[in-house]
């Protein structure tokens, strides 16, 4: 089972990416589970995902994310026992610091996790605003990422894209950096983010 945590601020396109990655993976005959912690933000998308035959579970976390880490572990164990997914995509709330979400993974007792990676989405259109207002949160998102996706590049100006790439590279030069547009996720990009698919 591979685990991919998708982080990013509210409205950055986490659910859209999760849906597209899930579709790319199911097209390669993989069993995919999506865990969402933002039922308010994704209410419509959640229904859409189910219409697309994607398997979605909701992580209910009370007021914030303090219980989310433990809930993730029990949900993963349940999925491992009942559904046997090859890929689990986890989308924590975009209104909370995601730094603790994977903290409880050492307690996981299911089938071994073949990979655990964090992908952070930077919305090129809004990053300058978000970074100026909330430097600590955006920095935390970037620092924790193994993969960084600069999104909405077809809508953003060249300067906005350059800014997003610069910030990502300055804060976390080790992370793999990708660009995407708002319309589609190419198979090449999906395989770059999920290399074991190719």
């Amino acid at each position: 089972m591979h685990l991919l945590l998708i982080t990013g601020f509210l409205g950055s396109g986490k659910t859209t990416l999760a849906t597209r990655l899930a579709k790319a993976a199911t097209a390669r005959w993989q069993r995919v589970a999506i865990l969402l912690n933002e039922i308010g933000e994704i209410g419509i998308d959640n229904q859409l995902m189910r219409q697309l035959d994607l398997n979605v579970w909701e992580l209910l976390g009370g007021c914030i994310c303090c219980t989310l880490s433990g809930d993730l572990v029990t949900t993963l164990q349940q999925l491992d026992a009942d559904y046997h997914p090859n890929l689990v995509l986890v989308e924590p709330s975009g209104a909370a610091d995601p730094s603790g979400v994977l903290k409880a993974l050492p307690y996981y007792r299911g089938a071994p996790l073949e990979s655990v990676r964090t992908l952070s989405i930077l919305d090129a259109l809004r990053l300058q605003l978000l970074y100026e207002v909330m430097t600590p949160l955006i920095t935390a998102h970037i620092q924790q990422a193994d993969l960084i996706l600069v999104s909405k590049c077809d809508l953003a100006s060249p300067d906005e894209i350059v800014f997003a790439r610069q910030i990502a590279q300055e804060i976390n030069p080790q992370a793999l950096l990708f660009d995407s547009d708002s319309q589609e996720l190419t198979p090449e990009l999906a395989y770059a983010m999920l290399p074991w698919l190719s």
């Binding site: 601020f9 509210l10 409205g11 933002e38 039922i39 308010g40 933000e41 909701e58 209910l60 976390g61 009370g62 007021c63 914030i64 994310c65 303090c66 219980t67 880490s69 433990g70 572990v73 029990t74 709330s93 975009g94 209104a95 909370a96 610091d97 730094s99 603790g100 903290k103 409880a104 307690y107 605003l129 978000l130 100026e132 207002v133 909330m134 430097t135 600590p136 949160l137 935390a140």
Partner: protein, 382 residues
């Protein structure tokens, strides 16, 4: 040192005086129904039941120094009390699901003007129908009055058993209040695009809510034996802010609220969830030995002790994941580490990191409490 009674122990910890052991005050409102075999939906609908399962749990586990709150926090008004949407067990969710905040833009940009003209409480009543909580809008104000009366009644029930109630809800920090009802996304936009407008709204909220909260605490004190020991001020989103915005839109309001509460004789407890590591030194600006900082396991409480030792009481922070997934020996080891390090020189209250999770293992909760009662290596310090 002679054995203290719970109220003496709590007072000493807050004021950084010697204690016989660290006081223990876990937050048990959502785990208690599960431990007593009661579904969460039932305590949302029945506030007497919410209190009674907490009392039963307190007694079953051998008790501790005070109940954190007098009763359940989530009702059929949900977080509509803050004009924030939420999903509730027994309504939108299954009967035993944990409730969930529902991040939506309830407050529109034009509501800044409404709040500045009419006040925060007028806004909460005005916006409540948009929230979609189960309690119908025409019952909102009567329900709030019932809930206030319930708080008095619950406090009296605990006190009749000789147990004091630690916290009552204090004023919500204005930035947090707006970010809940306006959504964090839109509030961030306000910080960037209309900072003066946002600041005027925050000024309005502070000016209205702090005196109101002080009045509520004073009324409760008159109606009960002990009242609430501290006022709960909750925050979770402000540490995301960049330093200039943190100061302008959050911290100056905290300092003002803290000073006003202290002048009224009320101890502020800052229940600050998420990661405050980068802002720990700010807390040195608050009056010494009069304020509690409660952390949820995300902030490094050991670093907090280094920074704030001898300045303020820390409270926390047995992590939810440890209580849910760990073994009793691991809980014991963590509690001992807390007492060893954070408890050194007093100024520490042992608690859960935020809420005890709904599915915490009973043996882990017991290990936390029993270790707290039996372990205190610092007597020689005094």
């Amino acid at each position: 040192m002679d054995e203290m009674n719970p109220r003496e122990r709590i007072d000493a910890a807050i004021t950084l005086q010697p204690v016989d052991r660290a006081p223990i005050i876990p937050l048990m409102d959502i785990v208690s129904p599960r431990l007593q075999g009661v579904k969460l939906a039932h305590v949302v609908k029945d506030l007497d039941l919410a209190r009674d399962v907490m009392i039963k749990t307190f007694e079953d586990l051998g008790g501790w120094d005070a109940t954190f709150f007098p009763g359940g926090l989530v009702t059929d008004v949900g977080w509509g009390i803050f004009a924030m949407a939420s999903k509730l067990p027994g309504y939108e969710l299954d009967e035993d699901d944990l409730w969930q905040l529902d991040e939506k833009e309830i407050m529109k940009v034009e509501d800044h003007d409404f709040i500045q003209k009419n006040g925060w409480n007028a806004y909460l009543a005005y916006a409540y129908p948009r929230v979609g909580a189960p309690c119908p809008p025409d019952r909102f104000i009567p329900r709030l009055i019932e809930m206030a009366a319930q708080g008095v009644k619950d406090t009296q029930v605990w006190e009749a058993k000789g147990i004091s109630v630690f916290a009552g809800l204090g004023p919500q920090p204005p930035f947090e209040a707006v970010s809940f009802t306006r959504s964090l996304k839109e509030t961030v936009g306000d910080v960037y695009r209309r900072p003066e407008v946002l600041e005027a709204t925050l000024d309005t909220i502070l000016a209205e809510t702090v005196p109101m909260s002080i009045g509520t605490f004073q009324d409760l004190k008159k109606a009960t034996q002990w009242g609430n020991r501290v006022a709960f001020l909750g925050a979770t989103r402000a540490p995301f802010l960049s330093p200039p915005n943190f100061e302008r839109f959050f911290w100056k309001y905290i300092k003002s609220a803290v000073n006003q509460l202290l002048e009224a004789g009320i101890t502020p407890m800052l229940h600050f969830d998420s990661n405050w590591d980068r802002y720990l030194e700010c807390f040195l600006e608050l009056p010494r030995a009069q304020v509690i900082l409660e952390l949820d396991g995300t902030t490094d409480i050991f670093k907090a002790k280094q920074v704030l030792k001898g300045h303020m009481c820390l409270m926390g922070d047995v992590p939810a994941s440890l209580l849910k997934l760990g073994a009793p020996e691991e809980v014991t080891a963590y509690v001992k580490k807390l007492i060893d390090v954070v408890g050194e020189g007093s100024g520490f209250i042992l608690s859960t990191g935020c809420d005890c999770p709904v599915d915490a293992k009973p043996e882990n909760v017991k290990a936390m409490i029993d270790t707290g009662k039996g372990y205190y290596p610092h007597h020689k310090v005094f």
